[in-house]
């Protein structure tokens, strides 16, 4: 995770530097307008170096004051923008890295983690990271820079005020933390109470009949009122903290201002210690107003950072998951090799008894094999092994001479097609159901595959044809099975794997499906765990798994 940060920061080095620069410039520019204002006041009061300003000088001073004020606001906006851009680049980079990681994880990861948890990593957890960047770490750095800048400038103008601020800031900081902590606790209570309150509505709606029959309205109302009271008192607490914070802070500002003025008005040592002229007083009053805003922001930012930490840790764990072994090997597809060759293969799911031990199987090109066996005998597992989803613990699985696990991505659809038990609908139109986003699939190839699957007429009749939108209601169950065949054979694979055909099709549909399978199987090696499909495809070997 840390290295990923560094990597992304380095990739956007220019942006990162710009961000640092903008923060520095913004901090500096926000410090200057009060100083100018102080000078103007001094000049007007006749206590500064020049006893009076000519009219033109005033216009110039006013314009400068305005320009610098404008500049500081613009830089503030620029800083916001830079933080947004930087944060977006960062989360983009993290999501890309996570998607890449997804491709390198072993299949066992997905059996151990349900897809909801994994996608919540991609959506929710990265979102909290986004908050971490946009209103967490960096804004905190910027806020700290603001406070530091103001303190430095004040230290130069009025040592006394500087010391007072130095004493006051930590106290107010503690007060801020305390209030924010209490507010958060009260908000949690309130949310719980509101959830309880709101859950009574659907409960009541489903129980209206007994409520009315048994004349339970007074009781139900009383119950609801009590829940209302609980939520009410919880929100009263939030309200109190909400209401008390800002007045206290503003009062502290006033105390500091008053003290500063009193000390500055004294004669002798105290005055020189506070070293204030009328102009400096104006400057300092402005600074006192500025120094507390970042303080409250920092409190919020710390909360954001804390709540994002859990998400960051989960993402970090995800990126650190062990990856599957071996990359794609050199493609040395050998035509003389048998279509499927399994040698003394042993396989067990992690922590379970072996499904296969010393299992061997040879299948020549063009051969047909039906695999039978009771549930749990390992039919599906054998399929997954041949598809290369799991590596065998021992032995070899070779498809046309290539190790099943290391078949390069681009070769897979030309090597084998798989008709799954249920069609997996992917987002997109009919064409995308067949191509699956694969750029190599042309529309002509898609039509050919549909023709073979016997679905071309149906698709032609759809409004939009091949580019008709496809949802789970667009086609019947049987038609989706046909679409599944088209998807499997569109890139003309050498090997066809037929999973168990789902039952529950009417006679006519089943007939069409078997005819389509028959056509699709022509000239291919076929491995099937479907009795009905196998019967339709005619003679072949049968392998019974124990």
């Amino acid at each position: 995770m840390k290295s990923l940060f560094l990597h992304i920061s380095k990739k956007h080095l220019g942006l990162t530097l710009l961000l640092a620069l903008v923060i520095a410039a913004r901090t500096a520019s926000s410090l200057i307008p009060p100083i100018i204002l102080g000078r103007i006041v001094d000049a007007l009061a006749g206590t500064g170096s020049s006893s009076a300003l000519p009219g033109g000088g005033l216009v110039l001073a006013g314009t400068m004051y305005f320009a610098l004020l404008a500049l500081s606001r613009l830089l503030e906006a620029l800083q916001e923008a830079a933080i947004t851009i930087w944060g977006e680049k960062m989360t983009h980079g993290i999501r890309s890295a996570m998607a890449g990681k997804l491709g390198r994880l072993p299949m066992t990861y997905f059996t151990e983690h349900d897809s909801g948890t994994v996608s919540s990593l991609f959506v929710n957890d990265v979102d909290t990271l986004e908050d971490l960047f946009s209103s967490g770490v960096i804004s905190m750095a910027a806020d700290l820079a603001s406070i530091a800048g103001i303190l430095v400038v004040i230290a130069g103008r009025s040592r006394g005020l500087f010391l007072m601020l130095l004493a006051a800031l930590p106290l107010l900081w503690l007060f801020t933390l305390h209030v924010q902590k209490r507010t958060l606790a009260a908000q949690l209570d309130q949310r719980r109470a509101v959830a309880d309150l709101n859950s009574q509505i659907p409960e009541t709606l489903t129980r209206l009949l007994p409520v009315r029959l048994f004349h339970a309205s007074p009781y139900m109302e009383d119950r609801y009122r009590q829940a209302c009271r609980r939520s009410f008192s919880a929100s009263e607490r939030t309200n109190f903290y909400d209401s008390v914070y800002s007045p206290v802070i503003l009062l502290c500002q006033a105390v500091l201002t008053a003290l500063m003025m009193i000390f500055a008005a004294q004669s002798g040592a105290l005055r020189s210690f506070f070293g204030i002229s009328a102009g400096t007083a104006v400057t300092c009053i402005a600074y006192i107003g500025q120094v507390f805003t970042p303080l409250a922001d920092i409190g919020m930012e710390i909360q954001n950072i804390q709540s994002a930490m859990a998400g960051a840790r989960r993402i970090s764990d995800f990126l650190g998951e062990p990856e599957k072994e071996g990359g794609p090997a050199a493609a040395d597809s050998c035509c003389s090799a048998p279509a499927v060759c399994i040698r003394q293969m042993t396989f067990a799911y992690p922590g379970q008894a072996p499904v296969f031990s010393n299992f061997s199987l040879d299948l020549k090109e063009g051969e047909r094999l039906l695999i039978t066996g009771r549930t749990g005998a390992g039919k599906s597992t054998l399929f997954k092994l041949i598809l290369g989803l799991y590596p065998p613990d021992q032995g070899q699985i070779l498809l046309l001479g290539q190790e099943a696990c290391t078949v390069a991505e681009k070769d897979r659809r030309r090597l084998f097609g798989c008709v799954e038990q249920n069609f997996t609908l992917i987002p997109g139109d009919i064409f995308e159901q067949i191509s699956m986003g694969d750029e190599r699939v042309s529309e002509q190839e898609a039509w050919d595959a549909l023709e073979t699957a016997g679905l071309a007429d149906t698709v032609r009749a759809l409004p939009g044809g091949l580019h008709a939108p496809c949802t789970s209601e667009s086609l019947s169950h049987g038609q989706f099975q046909l679409l599944s065949i088209a998807r499997a054979i569109v890139l003309d694979p050498r090997l066809l794997l037929l999973d168990e055909m789902s039952s529950g099709l009417d006679a006519a549909t089943e007939k069409a499906l078997l005819a389509a399978l028959n056509k699709a199987a022509r000239g291919r090696t076929v491995l099937s765990i479907s009795h009905r499909a196998s019967a339709a495809l005619g003679a072949g070997r049968t392998l019974h798994l124990q």
Partner: protein, 582 residues
């Protein structure tokens, strides 16, 4: 008491005391806000005088302390105002929710409008929040702007008017900027939705992508979505955060005028004669006015949002009084030529069914799947429309309804328990003694189980009764039906989760405690039908033939076995141990 909850003004009137506090503190606070800049100006002036030797240092102490006192008072007002305006919003939300809840319980809009009702509840918070913002902004923006304006005008009328040119310009520009900002925000939101979908597809379909060798390709497609998301988020973020600085800069152009012309005032060459105090007070005041006026847009936004929410809530804000509970007198039940239409509107469920029962009798009602058994029960409760006549003790249901009398108690297949204690689930707030409750628990064979529970009758049963077993839930629901005695008790397949021995005991107890009531036992399990006083067999209208042995029949168990073919079939199936599921 007789306020109309359907008028938004009634909520303001109802809480006039709270609002009075808000008004007083709001005005004091906002007027007091102008005191800050004024005092600060005075102190700067005093400092100049002291340094120049024109005033003694002691005067500063007095001034600073007064300043502090005033600020403390003003901030205290602010605290009170904030607290009370939130109290107001809270109470409004509470009052609205309770009215809404009563509407849900009592009004006819309740049934069938569940979704709208649930949405309305969430609208209440928006509405109350809008009312709070409106009330807050009314003072914070309205009053404070007026106070600042008065102060500014007091210092220099001409300069003030000149300065006021720029904030409205900024406001106009902000209105213009609003559309691109909100359209960028909604585009960003849509893109976020696409990203969430794409993330879900990339992760949930990993196995499929892997089988077909498409993971790299899908990552590339995902990358496109990510790039689009990044682009739109940045665009929206920048537009949103740049609106305010632009606004501020434009309205601050006046600052040049203030320093120039105000400075001339101090130097004695301007329109009015100013000291340093006036100068810095004017400057501080104007800066705050410019910031405040940018909130005017917020005020309109809040009011608009509240109005939309209010329109959705309003249909459920009728003033309804709870009715008193009164029970109809007991007597014989007479049902004649009762027919019920199918909900789909395609014909009758059953046709012209007649039967009668005396108080103390238990009548079994059965029939094949979808013969309308449950509908018959609901019709007798008055929950389904029917044709034919139903009378109890010589009066029909409409008369009961008009007189506000309850005539039936009911227990369905789903016990429909509340997430409350055992006691509350049975009594539902009805006055009772401990002995009565104990007796009821005994009747439904639940006494021993309940006393074994740690909290006894105060045990909370969880959502829908999940902390109890299915049989316990059914018996608890039966106790509830018995606790609210009515001349008619309808039990619709209540005992499917209860074991046979307990069911026997329940039937015996039922016979004993319902001597003054008519009990209708609707079931497809016929085990206890031979003990009933009579049986009604329902034949679906769709399977009627001309044969008199077919069709619905009413008689004793033995009679029906003799001449009702349908009932005989059900009885034989039950005897074989095959359950006919309804």
């Amino acid at each position: 008491m007789d306020r109309d909850p359907g008028r938004i003004g009634s909520y303001f009137r109802q809480q006039w005391r709270v609002l009075l506090v808000v008004t007083v503190t709001g005005i004091l606070y906002n007027l007091g806000l102008a005191a800050g800049p004024w005092f600060e100006g005075q102190m700067v002036q005093k400092l100049t005088d002291i340094i120049g030797g024109r005033a003694p240092a002691a005067q500063m102490i007095r001034l600073a302390l007064t300043y502090l006192l005033v600020i403390a008072a003003v901030q205290f007002m602010r605290f009170l105002k904030r607290l009370y305006v939130r109290k107001f919003a809270n109470r409004t939300s509470l009052a609205m929710k309770q009215t809404l809840y009563r509407n849900l319980l009592e009004a006819d809009t309740g049934i069938g409008s569940g979704d709208a009702m649930t949405r309305a509840i969430s609208d209440v918070d928006d509405c109350a929040e809008g009312m709070r913002k409106f009330t807050t902004e009314l003072f914070d923006t309205g009053v404070v702007m007026a106070a600042y304006l008065a102060l500014l005008l007091h210092y220099d009328v001409r300069l003030t008017l000149l300065c006021l040119i720029f904030p409205p310009l900024a406001w106009l520009l902000a209105q213009k900027l609003k559309r691109p900002v909100s359209s960028a925000a909604s585009e960003a939101k849509q893109s976020a939705g696409r990203l969430a979908d794409a993330s879900l597809n990339r992760t949930a379909l990993t196995r499929t992508w892997r089988i077909f060798g498409l993971e790299s390709r899908r990552n590339a497609l995902y990358e496109n979505v990510l790039a689009d998301y990044e682009h739109r988020q940045i665009r929206s973020g920048i537009l949103t955060s740049s609106a305010e600085p632009v606004y501020f800069i434009i309205s601050s152009v006046s600052l040049i005028l203030i320093i120039w012309l105000g400075g001339r005032n101090v130097l004695g060459t301007g329109w009015t004669d100013w000291d340093i105090a006036a100068f810095s007070a004017f400057l501080a005041c104007f800066t705050r006015l410019a910031t405040k006026s940018s909130h005017v847009g917020k005020l309109f936004g809040a009011v608009q949002k509240a109005r939309v929410s209010w329109e959705r809530i309003r249909p459920f804000m009728k003033n309804i009084h709870l009715k008193e509970e009164k029970t109809a007198p007991a007597g014989p039940l007479l049902v004649e030529s009762l027919s019920i239409d199918r909900l789909s509107g395609s014909g009758r469920m059953f046709e012209k069914v007649s039967f009668q029962a005396q108080p103390g009798q238990i009548i079994g009602i059965t029939g094949p799947v979808s013969s309308g058994k449950t509908s018959l029960g609901l019709a007798l409760l008055g929950c389904l429309p029917f044709t034919g006549t139903v009378s109890l003790a010589g009066r029909n249901m409409d008369q009961f309804r008009d007189a506000g009398l309850s005539w039936a108690s009911w227990l369905g297949h789903d016990p429909l328990l509340l997430s409350a204690s055992i006691e509350d689930n049975i009594m539902l707030g009805q006055q009772h003694t401990e002995a009565e409750l104990a007796r009821l628990l005994e009747l439904v064979c639940l006494d021993r189980e309940v006393s074994a529970m740690e909290n006894g009758i105060r045990t909370r049963v969880g959502e829908g009764g999940v902390r109890l077993s299915g049989g316990q839930q059914a018996r608890l629901a039966l106790a509830r039906a018995l606790a609210h005695p009515r001349p008619l008790l309808i039990l619709d397949d209540p005992f499917s989760a209860v074991d046979a021995a307990t069911e026997d005991a329940l039937m015996a107890n039922l016979r004993q405690c319902c001597s003054g009531r008519v009990v209708l036992l609707i079931s497809h399990r016929l085990g206890h039908f031979p003990e009933t006083d009579a049986v009604l067999y329902l034949e679906p209208a769709s399977s009627l033939s001309g044969d008199p042995a077919d069709g619905s029949h009413f008689g004793t168990h033995q009679e029906l076995l003799a001449y009702c073919a349908g009932y005989r079939r059900l009885w034989e199936l039950a005897a074989e141990g095959t359950e006919v599921r309804s």
